[in-house]
Symmetry: C2
Subunit: 392 residues, 2 copies
């Protein structure tokens, strides 16, 4: 185990009716004038928008609104939000929605306390030292942004999709009412479950030895999703299954299961190029990329894939490590398919002819990607090739 620090000071208010506390929570964490940031009409349809407005009004909190966040959130709206915060003297950013809305809110919160271009944080020209406090009301279990220090934004002019992270971006509070996730369509629900699993896998697939406690936590979260995801696909209104997925989604990415180890993140970054180019749902892109990544690295470094097979998918040891690991990957692919996820380029409208473009963007400023296996451009091309053709 490596040395680490862990600091996750988000206040979680979880369960039915938790959204009623939004006014008092904004007050508790220092807000008096909020930017209310959200996506499309779903929070208006569900009544959540009205509840939030009422609760903020009851606490005499002023509200400036900015809707219109899209999946794979864009830089344009972030610039607009930053300007609005500065002009209006906003002192708190309240995100109501899924991971895209929260990521956009974090970008705005950081940009509002910075004199330069907020994109400096994403292209690593500057680090985020200060941000407006952020609070969230989560409506999609997937990204884990409600408890994480991360944000991912797509720059509209360059098509670059990339992330930034800072301790100051952890939300001050997050309200998690699983009821609001019940209206999410099956495909989006399954994509969310996939995203959660791959957040865990990016931490799990590590060469750091002697990390039994975090390995076991990772396996616990994966087993939870394996149990719960089919239940919500079967019955979208299954509150209890939604609740377990929602809490697992937070834990999968607040890093409690990732401390003390070198993490991978190749699947996420390889996928980001897909969703930046085709605007595919991130979790669906991961369902295509992660198993392809597993099949590719299996030949080079199988040890953790063997553990993944045995402990997560209950595969009995086969004649060789490679066979055991392969059975684990197959079980994972079957699972993804069973919840309606795609496994190939075709199914998400991607085209192998763009593989070179995507690989070039991915490795624009570094020689390799990932850590479990350090992937060169050639390796990444082969992973895209497998995802496109099913051939290694």
């Amino acid at each position: 185990m490596e040395n680490f620090t862990f600091y996750a000071p988000t206040y979680f208010d979880f369960g039915k009716g938790a959204e009623e506390h939004v006014g008092t929570l904004v007050r508790r964490f220092g807000g008096s004038k909020v930017l209310l940031h959200y996506g499309g009409g779903s929070i208006k349809k569900s009544g959540l928008y009205d509840t939030v407005k009422r609760c903020l009004k009851e606490e005499n909190i002023d509200v400036v609104e900015l809707g219109g966040v899209k999946p794979n959130p864009r830089s344009g709206l972030v610039y607009e939000g930053i300007e609005l915060c500065k002009k209006e003297g906003v002192d708190f950013v309240l995100a109501v929605g899924g991971g895209s809305t929260i990521d956009s809110s974090k970008a705005i919160a950081a940009g509002a306390c910075y004199d330069g271009d907020f994109w400096d944080f994403y292209c690593k020209k500057a680090s985020i030292e200060k941000a407006l406090p952020v609070g969230t009301i989560l409506t999609i279990a997937a990204a884990g942004s409600e408890g994480s220090m991360n944000t991912v934004i797509t720059h509209e002019e360059t098509g670059i999709k990339t992330g930034a992270a800072s301790e100051v971006l952890r939300p001050r509070f997050s309200i998690l009412n699983p009821e609001f996730t019940c209206t999410l369509p099956p495909y989006q629900t399954a994509a969310g479950a996939t995203d959660i699993m791959i957040h865990v896998c990016e931490r799990y697939f590590s060469n750091t030895t002697e990390v039994e406690v975090t390995d076991r936590l990772c396996e616990a979260l994966l087993k939870t999703i394996i149990h719960e995801a089919p239940r919500v696909i079967e019955n979208p209104n299954h509150y209890e299954a939604r609740a377990n997925i929602m809490w697992a989604g937070m834990l999968a990415h607040n890093n409690v299961c990732g401390v003390g180890r070198v993490q991978d993140w190749a699947s996420h970054h390889i996928e980001h190029e897909l969703s930046a180019l085709y605007d595919v749902t991130h979790g669906a892109g991961l369902a295509v990329i992660a198993p392809a990544w597993m099949r590719y690295v299996l030949k080079i470094n199988p040890h953790k894939l063997v553990q993944f097979a045995e402990r997560v998918w209950d595969i009995e040891p086969q004649a060789t490590e490679e066979e055991t690991a392969l059975k684990g990957i197959e079980a994972f692919e079957s699972f993804l398919k069973s919840i309606g996820m795609p496994l190939t380029f075709d199914e998400i409208g991607a085209d192998e002819k763009d593989a070179e473009l995507m690989t070039g963007k991915l490795l624009r400023s570094k020689p390799t990607e990932g850590n479990y296996v350090k992937l060169t451009a050639d390796d990444v091309m082969k992973i895209y090739h497998y995802a496109a053709t099913g051939e290694m």
Copy 2:
């Protein structure tokens, strides 16, 4: 799953050399004059005391000292600490030691901000609204107080051992360097591992349904201890095993694996009467009480014991649920024995003739104990009886 809130804003600095950051961490979290609270000579022997003094001096932090904390920490030293804090204008309490030292520090921190008798918090006459900030350097993996909102104190005059809890008691930071736990003797190490396991079990044994994610997390922590504890008994200097136990110990009691469910706590409370009367090591007392509790409740409410057997101890389903559960309890008992823990009254110098006295103290202000099964005085007497005689 039940509604819940979860707020664990402790900054953890984990690993070799982390103690060097104590000065900057006290400063970061607002301290300028600390009460340095510790136990006996072990931190002087290890050099930790000198390091702490040097690091605080480097940050120009004033220090008032109070050593002498004993296992099962007493009210007398708490009164002394409170007076010292008030007289000296202390603004931060720094605990250097194990759970007893941290629990004593939390009591002092709360008492220093209160005009009445600090014991009011423990006998539930008052709730803790305010406390001096507490920081810790942990030297024993067991109590989980380094990340929890809990404190347990024994009142010297009445012999009552009981707890208090408050959000404001969560340490602001905790420094966890597993190296400092390597000098702990095998018996104390095993008692710590037992305490960690029972912190998990108190949460695990619940009638709340649909708590897959927290069930899985509980099982992950139990499996970690089952794997790691024998390794440190075998080789006390096994840094990696010590590290996994230390982080598991924090997670076992910061409540991340206990949210959204009714918890039990009967074993802890039944044991507190033992350690209050005989001054036995808490974890060793738990090794005697928890399996006895399991054997007793098995007849009344076996369902979670079956899951415990199958998922934690890998027991194959037997002819009846009761048989499956019993095999799990037996596996747990064998494990405890293998790491050198006692299982009977005899081994800890307890006497069944005190069972009535202990039961009376335990149920002095409530009709039943625990939640998984609500135990009457008669039930508690039978559990003590089993622990004393091995007969149900």
